[in-house]
Symmetry: C2
Subunit: 338 residues, 2 copies
DNA sequence: GCGTGGCGGGAAAGCGCTTTCCGGCGCTGC
DNA sequence: GCAGCGCCGGAAAGCGCTTTCCCGCCACGC
């Protein structure tokens, strides 16, 4: 084992050309190489099974074929959808995706960025939710600066960051429209299962929802915060049930939380939507077949990943670009007239 | 922008030591460095914000801090769970995961492996399902050889491959046990929604299920093949419905397919489990809250990812190791007595 | 006929690290 | 008191590639 790798030098020697020529042929350069030399090199490379050493190329070019992707939890369908979009675009561009997961610890984001910088990643997509944790934020900001100084681009999904390209889903507007739609069904008493208050996404959705209720002249909702996960939704719903507030409609700021909440409600014998209506946010594809079908705000998650990757890959100016994607209210069986 | 990166040389100069010493301090070497020099280097590195150039290290060491992970579709919860396990272990070991997706095209697997080889990835976990496509298989086999020759380790999940470490879920045994359990509920007429016949996983599960039915003295099931996806399950179930076979119980070889199948049945007004029972395989966590709760065979997916990563990261002997993980039959509300 | 340019090939200088090898120094053991 | 050894620091040789620079060659213009 460990038969050493075929190098460019070997190919060049075998083909009877110089290193420079071989390099020019095998890796697009601006310089031309004559037809016959070129063909000879190509053939030799093929015969020898030459595979360029990406580290060496990265070192020589000071830029690698890697693009980073940072998510909280790849298991969460929200992130895996975005990841699918990012990888599709990156792979189409001949780049490899390096996946980093934070496990929802804010400080990991900066660490991962630093690693990515060490690898001279060409670009990185930050899909995590922005927190309001000051220390983590400023450490992250510093890393983002360092990363772009070094020549890499960074794009964020759903979090506007200092001078980075951004894909911004209509969290506020979507939640607001949802609130109005639910009010249109006749509901007057609402509860919101919110995410942790330091997550900006959670806050935006909550704020939008409140605004929508206000639009309809409805009293502010009861708000219960929980983790941004299935279990968080479950716990929040349990808390809601014991709180004796008599809401007729619950908005969970995330489809995944809504799933947990529905489980809790069912467990307690609360019927959906007869006893209580429930809506989520994201429209996770994997969850579309659940019963009752979940009312939600559809976000084109994979597309958002593609857009982010697109932004980060075509160099663009120095200008930070922002692409807004709208959420679309989708009312299904989990919400009924009141 | 593009303020050049701080290099080891700068740190060394600033700290007044040689390159060698700085390298020894900053990146664990066997050689000792005196207390005061060591501390000086560390401090200088910190002040300057030194981050080692991973490409250069990889080149010099001829081995990178990258481990590959190849899946068909990161959006599929089966794969995202495995991915979570792999990344957890890899990140804990200070390595970065590069994620490759095949989009279920068999030939992509070899391509990705080749890219990974170019990057001198230390190891790779192949989580895709093995196909019986001869050409793709032999191309893949060649790449696996090349990869390990070059010093990288490769592990497969659910597909025994030439001399690679493997994590083998009990597909056959699990499906067999499931069949017996369902027979125990009194069912006598079964249908199986199988995956594409060239996928070994699909075939194993089907074979195991048949064996289980045989154990119980039950006639072979009607088999309908479809894609290994939600839509595949939907289509297969539709076909089943039009086929007029009067099965009382359906086994979809995958939870995701089962979800599609349930959607199809519901659409046609078939009640689950009153009119027909249905079971899946995998026990996808995201799908555990669906109604009716899906009977299935539980596989510890994240753990499988962890095991695979563990195998591939601790060097081990030349021996190819195989770890079997058992599936556990979980009967829930989607299957009823007949 | 000779100067001028353009073109394609090759030599060689890096890119930022790791690691081998060498040399100096302070000990130990006789 | 000195040979010998272990220890630690530094010089320098790569690792495999890209790219600059130079050089020879040919076509062309006067």
């Amino acid at each position: 084992m460990s038969a050493r790798q075929v190098t460019l030098a070997e190919v060049a020697k075998q083909a009877g050309v110089s290193l420079a020529t071989a390099s020019r042929v095998l890796n697009g350069s601006t310089r031309q190489v004559s037809e016959d030399l070129s063909e000879r090199v190509l053939r030799t490379a093929e015969e020898l099974g030459y595979v360029p050493n990406a580290s060496a190329q990265a070192l020589a070019r000071n830029s690698s074929a890697l693009v980073g992707l940072v998510v909280h939890d790849i298991t969460d369908p929200y992130f895996s959808c975005i990841a699918a979009g990012v990888t599709r675009v990156a792979e189409a561009a001949g780049l490899s995706v390096v996946l980093g997961t934070t496990g929802r610890r804010p400080e990991r984001e900066a660490e991962l960025l630093s690693t990515l910088r060490a690898h001279r990643a060409r670009a990185v997509v930050l899909a995590g939710s922005r927190t309001t944790d000051r220390a983590a934020q400023s450490r992250l900001a510093a890393e983002i600066d360092a990363f772009s100084e070094q020549g890499g681009r960074v794009a964020c999904v759903s979090q506007a960051k200092l001078g980075t390209d951004t894909v911004v889903p209509g969290n506020r507007a979507g939640a607001r429209a949802l609130a109005r739609a639910l009010a249109g069904l006749g509901h007057r008493k609402f509860a919101v299962l919110g995410g942790p208050s330091e997550l900006v996404v959670a806050r935006d959705r909550l704020a939008g929802f409140k605004a929508g209720l206000a639009d309809a002249g409805i009293a502010p909702p009861v708000v219960i915060n929980g983790a941004f996960t299935r279990d968080g939704g479950y716990a929040a719903a349990m808390e809601l049930l014991t709180s004796k507030s008599r809401s007729t409609c619950v908005f969970a700021v995330t489809d995944v939380m809504a799933m947990g909440a529905m489980a809790a409600l069912r467990e307690r014998g609360v019927r959906i939507p007869e006893d209580i209506s429930i809506a989520g946010f994201d429209d996770i594809p994997t969850l579309r077949d659940t019963v009752p079908a979940l009312s939600t705000v559809r976000l084109p998650l994979e597309e958002m990943g593609e857009i982010a990757a697109g932004l980060v890959l075509d160099a663009g100016g120095d200008e930070a670009r922002t692409v807004r994607v709208a959420g679309e209210v989708v009312l299904r069986a989990s919400t009924a007239h009141n």
